[in-house]
Symmetry: C2
Subunit: 297 residues, 2 copies
Protein backbone atom coordinates (compact mmCIF):
# COMPACT_ATOMS: atom_id res chain seq x y z
CA UNK A 1 0.00 0.00 0.00
CA UNK A 2 2.74 2.45 0.98
CA UNK A 3 4.70 1.09 -1.96
CA UNK A 4 1.81 1.83 -4.34
CA UNK A 5 1.87 5.42 -3.14
CA UNK A 6 5.64 5.65 -3.48
CA UNK A 7 5.53 4.32 -7.02
CA UNK A 8 2.73 6.74 -7.92
CA UNK A 9 4.63 9.68 -6.42
CA UNK A 10 7.86 8.77 -8.20
CA UNK A 11 6.03 8.48 -11.52
CA UNK A 12 4.30 11.81 -11.03
CA UNK A 13 7.47 13.60 -9.86
CA UNK A 14 9.11 12.47 -13.09
CA UNK A 15 6.14 13.70 -15.15
CA UNK A 16 5.88 17.06 -13.37
CA UNK A 17 9.58 17.77 -13.93
CA UNK A 18 10.51 17.63 -17.63
CA UNK A 19 14.01 18.87 -18.46
CA UNK A 20 13.41 22.28 -20.03
CA UNK A 21 15.99 24.84 -21.12
CA UNK A 22 18.33 25.77 -19.45
CA UNK A 23 18.83 22.03 -18.96
CA UNK A 24 21.36 22.38 -16.19
CA UNK A 25 18.97 23.99 -13.73
CA UNK A 26 16.11 21.58 -14.40
CA UNK A 27 18.51 18.63 -14.10
CA UNK A 28 19.86 19.97 -10.81
CA UNK A 29 16.31 20.46 -9.47
CA UNK A 30 15.24 16.97 -10.53
CA UNK A 31 18.41 15.29 -9.26
CA UNK A 32 17.70 15.84 -5.58
CA UNK A 33 13.90 15.58 -5.85
CA UNK A 34 14.18 12.13 -7.44
CA UNK A 35 16.92 10.69 -5.21
CA UNK A 36 15.61 7.34 -3.92
CA UNK A 37 13.70 7.96 -0.70
CA UNK A 38 10.78 6.92 1.44
CA UNK A 39 8.60 9.80 0.17
CA UNK A 40 7.29 10.08 3.70
CA UNK A 41 5.82 13.57 3.35
CA UNK A 42 3.93 13.02 0.07
CA UNK A 43 2.71 9.59 1.29
CA UNK A 44 1.34 11.27 4.42
CA UNK A 45 -0.33 13.94 2.30
CA UNK A 46 -2.10 11.38 0.08
CA UNK A 47 -3.08 9.18 3.03
CA UNK A 48 -4.51 12.09 5.01
CA UNK A 49 -6.59 13.13 2.02
CA UNK A 50 -7.93 9.58 1.71
CA UNK A 51 -8.48 9.24 5.47
CA UNK A 52 -10.76 12.29 5.45
CA UNK A 53 -12.76 11.01 2.49
CA UNK A 54 -11.02 12.91 -0.32
CA UNK A 55 -9.84 11.60 -3.70
CA UNK A 56 -6.17 10.59 -3.64
CA UNK A 57 -5.61 11.90 -7.17
CA UNK A 58 -6.70 15.38 -6.08
CA UNK A 59 -3.77 15.49 -3.66
CA UNK A 60 -1.03 14.22 -6.01
CA UNK A 61 0.29 17.58 -7.29
CA UNK A 62 0.36 18.98 -3.74
CA UNK A 63 2.05 15.85 -2.39
CA UNK A 64 4.71 16.13 -5.10
CA UNK A 65 5.14 19.85 -4.43
CA UNK A 66 5.85 19.10 -0.77
CA UNK A 67 8.53 16.59 -1.81
CA UNK A 68 10.04 19.32 -4.02
CA UNK A 69 10.05 21.70 -1.06
CA UNK A 70 11.67 19.02 1.09
CA UNK A 71 14.37 18.59 -1.59
CA UNK A 72 14.89 22.37 -1.62
CA UNK A 73 15.62 22.38 2.09
CA UNK A 74 18.04 19.45 1.68
CA UNK A 75 19.93 21.13 -1.19
CA UNK A 76 20.46 24.36 0.73
CA UNK A 77 21.11 22.66 4.10
CA UNK A 78 23.87 20.57 2.48
CA UNK A 79 25.71 23.63 1.07
CA UNK A 80 29.29 24.27 2.21
CA UNK A 81 28.16 27.43 4.06
CA UNK A 82 25.55 25.41 5.99
CA UNK A 83 26.04 21.76 7.04
CA UNK A 84 28.67 21.14 4.33
CA UNK A 85 27.54 17.59 3.55
CA UNK A 86 28.92 15.65 0.60
CA UNK A 87 26.46 12.77 0.71
CA UNK A 88 22.71 12.50 1.01
CA UNK A 89 20.75 9.25 0.74
CA UNK A 90 23.97 7.53 -0.34
CA UNK A 91 24.47 9.87 -3.30
CA UNK A 92 26.58 12.97 -3.81
CA UNK A 93 24.81 16.13 -2.68
CA UNK A 94 23.54 18.64 -5.22
CA UNK A 95 26.45 21.09 -5.05
CA UNK A 96 28.94 18.23 -5.38
CA UNK A 97 27.39 17.33 -8.74
CA UNK A 98 26.24 20.68 -10.16
CA UNK A 99 28.47 23.17 -8.33
CA UNK A 100 27.57 25.53 -5.53
CA UNK A 101 26.03 28.30 -7.64
CA UNK A 102 23.68 25.92 -9.45
CA UNK A 103 22.74 24.24 -6.18
CA UNK A 104 21.70 27.59 -4.71
CA UNK A 105 19.70 28.36 -7.85
CA UNK A 106 18.15 24.88 -8.02
CA UNK A 107 16.86 25.33 -4.48
CA UNK A 108 15.52 28.76 -5.36
CA UNK A 109 13.83 27.41 -8.45
CA UNK A 110 12.15 24.59 -6.50
CA UNK A 111 10.67 27.13 -4.10
CA UNK A 112 8.55 28.55 -6.91
CA UNK A 113 8.29 25.42 -9.07
CA UNK A 114 6.59 23.57 -6.20
CA UNK A 115 3.60 25.90 -5.69
CA UNK A 116 3.47 26.35 -9.49
CA UNK A 117 3.03 22.57 -9.78
CA UNK A 118 0.06 22.72 -7.41
CA UNK A 119 -1.65 25.57 -9.25
CA UNK A 120 -1.07 24.12 -12.71
CA UNK A 121 -2.34 20.62 -11.93
CA UNK A 122 -5.09 21.11 -9.36
CA UNK A 123 -7.48 23.52 -11.08
CA UNK A 124 -10.41 21.21 -10.21
CA UNK A 125 -9.99 22.17 -6.54
CA UNK A 126 -11.25 25.68 -7.22
CA UNK A 127 -9.63 29.04 -6.51
CA UNK A 128 -10.52 29.31 -2.81
CA UNK A 129 -9.00 25.96 -1.88
CA UNK A 130 -5.92 26.60 -4.00
CA UNK A 131 -5.34 29.85 -2.14
CA UNK A 132 -5.61 28.01 1.18
CA UNK A 133 -2.99 25.52 -0.04
CA UNK A 134 -0.73 28.41 -1.08
CA UNK A 135 -1.02 29.99 2.36
CA UNK A 136 -0.17 26.69 4.07
CA UNK A 137 2.79 26.20 1.73
CA UNK A 138 4.28 29.68 2.20
CA UNK A 139 3.88 29.51 5.96
CA UNK A 140 5.66 26.17 6.26
CA UNK A 141 8.37 26.94 3.68
CA UNK A 142 9.30 30.39 4.93
CA UNK A 143 10.74 32.32 7.84
CA UNK A 144 7.89 31.24 10.14
CA UNK A 145 8.47 27.57 9.22
CA UNK A 146 11.42 25.44 8.11
CA UNK A 147 13.68 28.44 7.67
CA UNK A 148 13.11 29.54 11.28
CA UNK A 149 14.20 26.05 12.30
CA UNK A 150 17.30 26.13 10.14
CA UNK A 151 18.33 29.60 11.35
CA UNK A 152 18.10 28.60 15.01
CA UNK A 153 19.84 25.30 14.18
CA UNK A 154 22.76 27.25 12.72
CA UNK A 155 22.87 29.57 15.74
CA UNK A 156 22.76 26.57 18.07
CA UNK A 157 26.00 25.33 16.57
CA UNK A 158 27.79 27.83 18.79
CA UNK A 159 26.37 25.93 21.75
CA UNK A 160 28.53 23.00 22.76
CA UNK A 161 26.60 20.34 24.57
CA UNK A 162 29.64 19.59 26.71
CA UNK A 163 29.36 23.07 28.25
CA UNK A 164 25.77 22.45 29.36
CA UNK A 165 24.05 20.31 31.99
CA UNK A 166 25.63 22.02 34.97
CA UNK A 167 23.00 24.67 35.72
CA UNK A 168 19.26 24.13 35.43
CA UNK A 169 18.60 27.42 33.70
CA UNK A 170 21.15 26.55 31.07
CA UNK A 171 19.57 23.16 30.53
CA UNK A 172 16.14 24.75 30.03
CA UNK A 173 17.54 27.02 27.34
CA UNK A 174 19.12 24.09 25.49
CA UNK A 175 15.88 22.09 25.75
CA UNK A 176 13.74 24.94 24.40
CA UNK A 177 16.16 25.59 21.56
CA UNK A 178 16.12 21.93 20.55
CA UNK A 179 12.32 21.79 20.68
CA UNK A 180 12.12 24.91 18.50
CA UNK A 181 14.48 23.41 15.92
CA UNK A 182 12.62 20.07 15.78
CA UNK A 183 9.25 21.77 15.57
CA UNK A 184 10.21 24.03 12.70
CA UNK A 185 12.83 22.05 10.78
CA UNK A 186 10.88 18.81 10.80
CA UNK A 187 7.35 18.98 12.21
CA UNK A 188 6.36 22.02 10.12
CA UNK A 189 6.81 20.08 6.85
CA UNK A 190 4.96 17.09 8.30
CA UNK A 191 2.12 19.39 9.35
CA UNK A 192 2.10 20.95 5.87
CA UNK A 193 1.75 17.50 4.28
CA UNK A 194 -1.03 16.44 6.64
CA UNK A 195 -2.94 19.73 6.67
CA UNK A 196 -2.78 20.04 2.88
CA UNK A 197 -4.20 16.55 2.46
CA UNK A 198 -6.94 17.37 4.96
CA UNK A 199 -7.78 20.69 3.28
CA UNK A 200 -8.06 19.00 -0.12
CA UNK A 201 -10.49 16.51 1.46
CA UNK A 202 -12.58 19.32 2.99
CA UNK A 203 -11.77 18.34 6.57
CA UNK A 204 -13.45 20.50 9.22
CA UNK A 205 -11.60 22.64 11.80
CA UNK A 206 -11.70 19.97 14.51
CA UNK A 207 -10.18 17.44 12.13
CA UNK A 208 -7.56 19.95 11.01
CA UNK A 209 -6.58 20.60 14.63
CA UNK A 210 -6.31 16.88 15.34
CA UNK A 211 -4.11 16.19 12.33
CA UNK A 212 -1.94 19.21 13.16
CA UNK A 213 -1.33 17.90 16.68
CA UNK A 214 -0.62 14.48 15.21
CA UNK A 215 1.94 16.04 12.85
CA UNK A 216 3.63 17.98 15.64
CA UNK A 217 4.14 14.83 17.74
CA UNK A 218 5.10 12.69 14.76
CA UNK A 219 7.59 15.29 13.53
CA UNK A 220 9.37 15.56 16.87
CA UNK A 221 9.32 11.74 17.25
CA UNK A 222 10.81 11.40 13.76
CA UNK A 223 13.60 13.82 14.64
CA UNK A 224 14.37 12.05 17.93
CA UNK A 225 14.52 8.77 15.99
CA UNK A 226 16.92 10.43 13.54
CA UNK A 227 19.13 11.62 16.41
CA UNK A 228 19.13 8.10 17.86
CA UNK A 229 20.04 6.59 14.47
CA UNK A 230 22.82 9.14 14.04
CA UNK A 231 24.27 7.83 17.29
CA UNK A 232 23.82 4.11 16.62
CA UNK A 233 23.94 3.48 12.84
CA UNK A 234 26.54 3.10 10.13
CA UNK A 235 27.05 5.07 6.91
CA UNK A 236 25.72 2.12 4.87
CA UNK A 237 22.44 2.10 6.77
CA UNK A 238 21.82 5.85 6.60
CA UNK A 239 23.43 6.95 3.34
CA UNK A 240 24.97 10.01 4.92
CA UNK A 241 27.98 10.90 7.02
CA UNK A 242 27.22 10.04 10.64
CA UNK A 243 28.64 10.68 14.07
CA UNK A 244 29.45 14.25 13.01
CA UNK A 245 26.92 15.50 15.55
CA UNK A 246 28.67 13.86 18.47
CA UNK A 247 32.12 14.82 17.26
CA UNK A 248 31.15 18.49 17.08
CA UNK A 249 29.39 18.52 20.46
CA UNK A 250 26.18 19.31 18.62
CA UNK A 251 22.90 19.79 20.40
CA UNK A 252 20.70 16.74 19.68
CA UNK A 253 18.01 14.93 21.64
CA UNK A 254 20.48 12.18 22.50
CA UNK A 255 23.31 14.52 23.48
CA UNK A 256 20.97 16.53 25.72
CA UNK A 257 18.85 13.84 27.37
CA UNK A 258 20.91 10.66 26.88
CA UNK A 259 20.00 7.61 24.79
CA UNK A 260 17.62 6.00 27.29
CA UNK A 261 15.42 9.03 27.83
CA UNK A 262 15.44 9.72 24.10
CA UNK A 263 14.06 6.24 23.46
CA UNK A 264 11.43 6.60 26.16
CA UNK A 265 10.25 10.02 24.94
CA UNK A 266 10.13 8.72 21.38
CA UNK A 267 7.84 5.91 22.51
CA UNK A 268 5.61 8.29 24.44
CA UNK A 269 5.23 10.56 21.42
CA UNK A 270 4.35 7.64 19.17
CA UNK A 271 1.74 6.47 21.71
CA UNK A 272 0.31 9.98 21.69
CA UNK A 273 0.03 9.77 17.90
CA UNK A 274 -1.85 6.46 18.15
CA UNK A 275 -4.19 8.03 20.71
CA UNK A 276 -4.94 11.00 18.47
CA UNK A 277 -5.91 8.63 15.66
CA UNK A 278 -8.12 6.59 18.03
CA UNK A 279 -9.82 9.57 19.64
CA UNK A 280 -10.71 10.97 16.25
CA UNK A 281 -11.80 7.65 14.75
CA UNK A 282 -9.09 7.88 12.13
CA UNK A 283 -8.10 4.55 10.67
CA UNK A 284 -5.05 4.14 8.47
CA UNK A 285 -2.84 1.09 8.00
CA UNK A 286 -0.20 3.33 6.48
CA UNK A 287 0.02 5.68 9.45
CA UNK A 288 0.07 2.69 11.82
CA UNK A 289 2.94 1.24 9.83
CA UNK A 290 4.85 4.54 9.86
CA UNK A 291 4.34 4.95 13.61
CA UNK A 292 5.47 1.39 14.37
CA UNK A 293 8.54 1.79 12.20
CA UNK A 294 9.65 4.99 13.97
CA UNK A 295 8.92 3.44 17.38
CA UNK A 296 11.14 0.45 16.56
CA UNK A 297 14.25 2.65 16.24
CA UNK B 1 5.19 62.04 -8.47
CA UNK B 2 7.76 59.23 -8.69
CA UNK B 3 8.98 60.40 -5.31
CA UNK B 4 5.49 60.06 -3.84
CA UNK B 5 5.42 56.47 -5.01
CA UNK B 6 8.90 55.76 -3.65
CA UNK B 7 7.95 57.18 -0.27
CA UNK B 8 4.76 55.13 -0.22
CA UNK B 9 6.61 51.94 -1.18
CA UNK B 10 9.31 52.49 1.44
CA UNK B 11 6.68 53.08 4.12
CA UNK B 12 4.76 49.96 3.12
CA UNK B 13 7.87 47.77 2.84
CA UNK B 14 8.69 48.74 6.40
CA UNK B 15 5.14 47.93 7.54
CA UNK B 16 4.97 44.61 5.71
CA UNK B 17 8.25 43.43 7.26
CA UNK B 18 8.13 43.53 11.06
CA UNK B 19 11.09 41.88 12.80
CA UNK B 20 9.65 38.61 14.09
CA UNK B 21 11.49 35.76 15.80
CA UNK B 22 14.05 34.49 14.81
CA UNK B 23 15.14 38.13 14.55
CA UNK B 24 18.28 37.42 12.57
CA UNK B 25 16.46 36.07 9.51
CA UNK B 26 13.87 38.85 9.43
CA UNK B 27 16.61 41.46 9.88
CA UNK B 28 18.61 39.92 7.05
CA UNK B 29 15.56 39.86 4.76
CA UNK B 30 14.68 43.47 5.56
CA UNK B 31 18.27 44.71 5.24
CA UNK B 32 18.53 44.18 1.49
CA UNK B 33 14.88 44.92 0.72
CA UNK B 34 15.13 48.33 2.39
CA UNK B 35 18.54 49.38 1.01
CA UNK B 36 18.06 52.83 -0.52
CA UNK B 37 17.06 52.41 -4.14
CA UNK B 38 14.99 53.78 -6.99
CA UNK B 39 12.21 51.20 -6.41
CA UNK B 40 11.87 51.03 -10.17
CA UNK B 41 9.93 47.76 -10.31
CA UNK B 42 7.30 48.62 -7.69
CA UNK B 43 6.94 52.14 -9.12
CA UNK B 44 6.26 50.60 -12.54
CA UNK B 45 3.74 48.21 -11.02
CA UNK B 46 1.78 50.99 -9.31
CA UNK B 47 1.94 53.25 -12.37
CA UNK B 48 0.73 50.51 -14.73
CA UNK B 49 -2.20 49.79 -12.44
CA UNK B 50 -3.10 53.48 -12.45
CA UNK B 51 -2.55 53.83 -16.20
CA UNK B 52 -5.12 51.09 -16.87
CA UNK B 53 -7.68 52.67 -14.54
CA UNK B 54 -7.05 50.62 -11.40
CA UNK B 55 -6.66 51.84 -7.83
CA UNK B 56 -3.03 52.36 -6.85
CA UNK B 57 -3.65 51.06 -3.31
CA UNK B 58 -4.81 47.73 -4.73
CA UNK B 59 -1.36 47.21 -6.25
CA UNK B 60 0.75 48.15 -3.21
CA UNK B 61 1.24 44.68 -1.69
CA UNK B 62 2.10 43.23 -5.10
CA UNK B 63 4.49 46.09 -5.88
CA UNK B 64 6.25 45.53 -2.55
CA UNK B 65 6.37 41.76 -3.13
CA UNK B 66 8.15 42.36 -6.44
CA UNK B 67 10.73 44.52 -4.67
CA UNK B 68 11.21 41.67 -2.17
CA UNK B 69 11.73 39.26 -5.06
CA UNK B 70 14.22 41.67 -6.62
CA UNK B 71 16.11 41.81 -3.31
CA UNK B 72 16.11 37.99 -3.19
CA UNK B 73 17.83 37.83 -6.57
CA UNK B 74 20.40 40.42 -5.44
CA UNK B 75 21.20 38.59 -2.20
CA UNK B 76 21.83 35.29 -3.95
CA UNK B 77 23.59 36.83 -6.98
CA UNK B 78 26.03 38.57 -4.64
CA UNK B 79 27.01 35.33 -2.82
CA UNK B 80 30.66 34.23 -2.96
CA UNK B 81 29.71 31.21 -5.10
CA UNK B 82 27.98 33.52 -7.64
CA UNK B 83 29.20 37.04 -8.42
CA UNK B 84 31.05 37.37 -5.09
CA UNK B 85 30.20 41.05 -4.60
CA UNK B 86 30.96 42.84 -1.34
CA UNK B 87 29.00 46.00 -2.06
CA UNK B 88 25.53 46.75 -3.38
CA UNK B 89 24.01 50.23 -3.61
CA UNK B 90 27.00 51.54 -1.68
CA UNK B 91 26.36 49.22 1.28
CA UNK B 92 27.83 45.88 2.31
CA UNK B 93 26.06 42.95 0.66
CA UNK B 94 23.84 40.67 2.72
CA UNK B 95 26.35 37.86 3.31
CA UNK B 96 29.00 40.40 4.34
CA UNK B 97 26.70 41.54 7.18
CA UNK B 98 24.80 38.40 8.16
CA UNK B 99 27.11 35.62 6.96
CA UNK B 100 26.72 33.32 3.99
CA UNK B 101 24.32 30.80 5.54
CA UNK B 102 21.90 33.49 6.68
CA UNK B 103 22.10 35.22 3.31
CA UNK B 104 21.11 32.01 1.54
CA UNK B 105 18.22 31.56 3.99
CA UNK B 106 17.16 35.22 3.81
CA UNK B 107 16.84 34.86 0.02
CA UNK B 108 14.87 31.64 0.43
CA UNK B 109 12.60 33.25 2.98
CA UNK B 110 11.89 36.22 0.70
CA UNK B 111 10.81 33.85 -2.07
CA UNK B 112 7.84 32.76 0.03
CA UNK B 113 7.39 35.93 2.08
CA UNK B 114 6.80 37.93 -1.11
CA UNK B 115 3.79 35.98 -2.45
CA UNK B 116 2.57 35.63 1.14
CA UNK B 117 2.54 39.43 1.37
CA UNK B 118 0.34 39.61 -1.71
CA UNK B 119 -2.16 37.02 -0.46
CA UNK B 120 -2.36 38.46 3.03
CA UNK B 121 -2.91 42.06 2.00
CA UNK B 122 -4.89 41.88 -1.23
CA UNK B 123 -7.96 39.84 -0.27
CA UNK B 124 -10.21 42.47 -1.86
CA UNK B 125 -8.93 41.42 -5.31
CA UNK B 126 -10.75 38.09 -5.07
CA UNK B 127 -9.44 34.55 -5.37
CA UNK B 128 -9.30 34.32 -9.17
CA UNK B 129 -7.18 37.45 -9.58
CA UNK B 130 -4.91 36.46 -6.71
CA UNK B 131 -4.24 33.13 -8.40
CA UNK B 132 -3.36 34.94 -11.63
CA UNK B 133 -0.89 37.09 -9.69
CA UNK B 134 0.61 33.96 -8.11
CA UNK B 135 1.10 32.37 -11.53
CA UNK B 136 2.78 35.50 -12.87
CA UNK B 137 5.02 35.67 -9.81
CA UNK B 138 6.13 32.01 -9.92
CA UNK B 139 6.82 32.17 -13.64
CA UNK B 140 9.01 35.27 -13.38
CA UNK B 141 10.79 34.19 -10.17
CA UNK B 142 11.57 30.63 -11.19
CA UNK B 143 13.51 28.48 -13.61
CA UNK B 144 11.57 29.88 -16.60
CA UNK B 145 12.33 33.45 -15.49
CA UNK B 146 15.09 35.22 -13.57
CA UNK B 147 16.77 31.96 -12.58
CA UNK B 148 17.07 30.88 -16.23
CA UNK B 149 18.84 34.18 -16.84
CA UNK B 150 21.18 33.75 -13.91
CA UNK B 151 22.06 30.15 -14.86
CA UNK B 152 22.98 31.13 -18.41
CA UNK B 153 24.82 34.17 -17.07
CA UNK B 154 26.97 31.91 -14.90
CA UNK B 155 27.60 29.55 -17.82
CA UNK B 156 28.52 32.49 -20.04
CA UNK B 157 31.34 33.35 -17.68
CA UNK B 158 33.35 30.62 -19.37
CA UNK B 159 33.05 32.62 -22.57
CA UNK B 160 35.76 35.22 -22.88
CA UNK B 161 34.76 38.09 -25.12
CA UNK B 162 38.34 38.40 -26.32
CA UNK B 163 38.05 34.97 -27.95
CA UNK B 164 35.01 36.02 -29.98
CA UNK B 165 34.39 38.30 -32.96
CA UNK B 166 36.50 36.33 -35.44
CA UNK B 167 33.84 34.04 -36.91
CA UNK B 168 30.25 35.05 -37.63
CA UNK B 169 28.75 31.88 -36.20
CA UNK B 170 30.55 32.48 -32.97
CA UNK B 171 29.33 36.07 -32.81
CA UNK B 172 25.73 34.93 -33.33
CA UNK B 173 26.04 32.54 -30.39
CA UNK B 174 27.41 35.29 -28.14
CA UNK B 175 24.65 37.67 -29.24
CA UNK B 176 21.87 35.15 -28.58
CA UNK B 177 23.30 34.24 -25.20
CA UNK B 178 23.46 37.89 -24.17
CA UNK B 179 19.89 38.51 -25.33
CA UNK B 180 18.70 35.48 -23.36
CA UNK B 181 20.44 36.71 -20.20
CA UNK B 182 19.06 40.25 -20.52
CA UNK B 183 15.55 38.99 -21.26
CA UNK B 184 15.40 36.69 -18.27
CA UNK B 185 17.62 38.35 -15.69
CA UNK B 186 16.18 41.81 -16.19
CA UNK B 187 13.18 42.05 -18.51
CA UNK B 188 11.27 39.22 -16.82
CA UNK B 189 11.04 41.13 -13.53
CA UNK B 190 10.06 44.30 -15.38
CA UNK B 191 7.33 42.36 -17.20
CA UNK B 192 6.17 40.89 -13.90
CA UNK B 193 5.84 44.38 -12.41
CA UNK B 194 3.96 45.73 -15.43
CA UNK B 195 1.74 42.71 -16.03
CA UNK B 196 0.81 42.45 -12.35
CA UNK B 197 -0.20 46.11 -12.28
CA UNK B 198 -2.25 45.59 -15.45
CA UNK B 199 -3.94 42.43 -14.11
CA UNK B 200 -4.91 44.20 -10.89
CA UNK B 201 -6.48 46.96 -13.03
CA UNK B 202 -8.41 44.40 -15.13
CA UNK B 203 -6.54 45.21 -18.35
CA UNK B 204 -7.67 43.23 -21.40
CA UNK B 205 -5.47 40.84 -23.39
CA UNK B 206 -4.47 43.45 -25.96
CA UNK B 207 -3.37 45.80 -23.21
CA UNK B 208 -1.50 43.00 -21.46
CA UNK B 209 0.36 42.17 -24.67
CA UNK B 210 1.27 45.82 -25.23
CA UNK B 211 2.63 46.27 -21.71
CA UNK B 212 4.54 42.99 -21.98
CA UNK B 213 6.27 44.16 -25.16
CA UNK B 214 6.96 47.49 -23.48
CA UNK B 215 8.55 45.65 -20.54
CA UNK B 216 10.69 43.47 -22.77
CA UNK B 217 12.15 46.48 -24.61
CA UNK B 218 12.52 48.54 -21.44
CA UNK B 219 14.22 45.66 -19.63
CA UNK B 220 16.82 45.13 -22.35
CA UNK B 221 17.35 48.90 -22.65
CA UNK B 222 17.86 49.13 -18.90
CA UNK B 223 20.44 46.35 -19.01
CA UNK B 224 22.32 47.95 -21.92
CA UNK B 225 22.35 51.22 -19.97
CA UNK B 226 23.74 49.32 -16.98
CA UNK B 227 26.48 47.82 -19.15
CA UNK B 228 27.33 51.28 -20.48
CA UNK B 229 27.46 52.72 -16.96
CA UNK B 230 29.66 49.86 -15.80
CA UNK B 231 32.10 50.92 -18.51
CA UNK B 232 31.97 54.66 -17.92
CA UNK B 233 31.12 55.34 -14.25
CA UNK B 234 32.90 55.41 -10.93
CA UNK B 235 32.27 53.48 -7.71
CA UNK B 236 30.82 56.59 -6.06
CA UNK B 237 28.21 57.00 -8.79
CA UNK B 238 27.11 53.37 -8.89
CA UNK B 239 27.61 52.14 -5.32
CA UNK B 240 29.13 48.86 -6.46
CA UNK B 241 32.47 47.60 -7.66
CA UNK B 242 32.85 48.50 -11.34
CA UNK B 243 35.05 47.61 -14.25
CA UNK B 244 35.08 43.99 -13.09
CA UNK B 245 33.22 43.02 -16.28
CA UNK B 246 35.90 44.37 -18.57
CA UNK B 247 38.70 43.00 -16.49
CA UNK B 248 37.28 39.48 -16.64
CA UNK B 249 36.53 39.58 -20.38
CA UNK B 250 32.86 39.27 -19.47
CA UNK B 251 30.14 39.17 -22.12
CA UNK B 252 28.25 42.49 -21.97
CA UNK B 253 26.44 44.58 -24.55
CA UNK B 254 29.37 46.98 -24.66
CA UNK B 255 32.05 44.27 -24.86
CA UNK B 256 30.17 42.55 -27.70
CA UNK B 257 28.95 45.46 -29.82
CA UNK B 258 31.16 48.36 -28.72
CA UNK B 259 30.11 51.52 -26.91
CA UNK B 260 28.74 53.39 -29.94
CA UNK B 261 26.40 50.67 -31.12
CA UNK B 262 25.32 50.03 -27.53
CA UNK B 263 24.27 53.68 -27.24
CA UNK B 264 22.45 53.60 -30.56
CA UNK B 265 20.57 50.39 -29.76
CA UNK B 266 19.65 51.74 -26.35
CA UNK B 267 18.11 54.80 -28.01
CA UNK B 268 16.22 52.66 -30.52
CA UNK B 269 14.74 50.51 -27.76
CA UNK B 270 13.65 53.58 -25.80
CA UNK B 271 12.02 55.01 -28.95
CA UNK B 272 10.20 51.72 -29.38
CA UNK B 273 8.92 52.03 -25.82
CA UNK B 274 7.60 55.54 -26.51
CA UNK B 275 5.89 54.22 -29.65
CA UNK B 276 4.17 51.41 -27.75
CA UNK B 277 2.78 53.93 -25.28
CA UNK B 278 1.59 56.19 -28.12
CA UNK B 279 0.02 53.41 -30.18
CA UNK B 280 -1.95 52.21 -27.20
CA UNK B 281 -2.97 55.67 -26.00
CA UNK B 282 -1.13 55.13 -22.76
CA UNK B 283 -0.16 58.34 -20.99
CA UNK B 284 2.19 58.42 -18.05
CA UNK B 285 4.54 61.15 -16.93
CA UNK B 286 6.34 58.64 -14.78
CA UNK B 287 7.09 56.23 -17.61
CA UNK B 288 8.17 59.15 -19.83
CA UNK B 289 10.53 60.26 -17.09
CA UNK B 290 11.95 56.74 -16.66
CA UNK B 291 12.46 56.34 -20.42
CA UNK B 292 14.17 59.71 -20.75
CA UNK B 293 16.45 58.96 -17.82
CA UNK B 294 17.60 55.64 -19.28
CA UNK B 295 18.04 57.21 -22.72
CA UNK B 296 20.30 59.90 -21.27
CA UNK B 297 22.91 57.34 -20.17
Amino acid sequence: MTNDYIELINKKLDEFMPINYPHKIFKAMKYTVTLPGKRLRPVMCLETCKMFGGKVEDAIPTACAIEMLHAQTLIHDDLPCMDNDNYRRGQLTNHMVFGEANAVLAGDALLTFAPQTILKNSKQLGAEKLLKLMEEFFHAAGAFGVIAGQVVDIESERLNINDCKTENEDFEFYAQTLDYIHTHKTADLFKLALRSGAIIADANDEQLNAITEFGQNLGVAFQIADDILDETSTFEEMGKTLGKDKEEGKLTYVSLYGLEKAKKDLNDLIDKCFNILDENNLKSEIFEKILKKIKAV
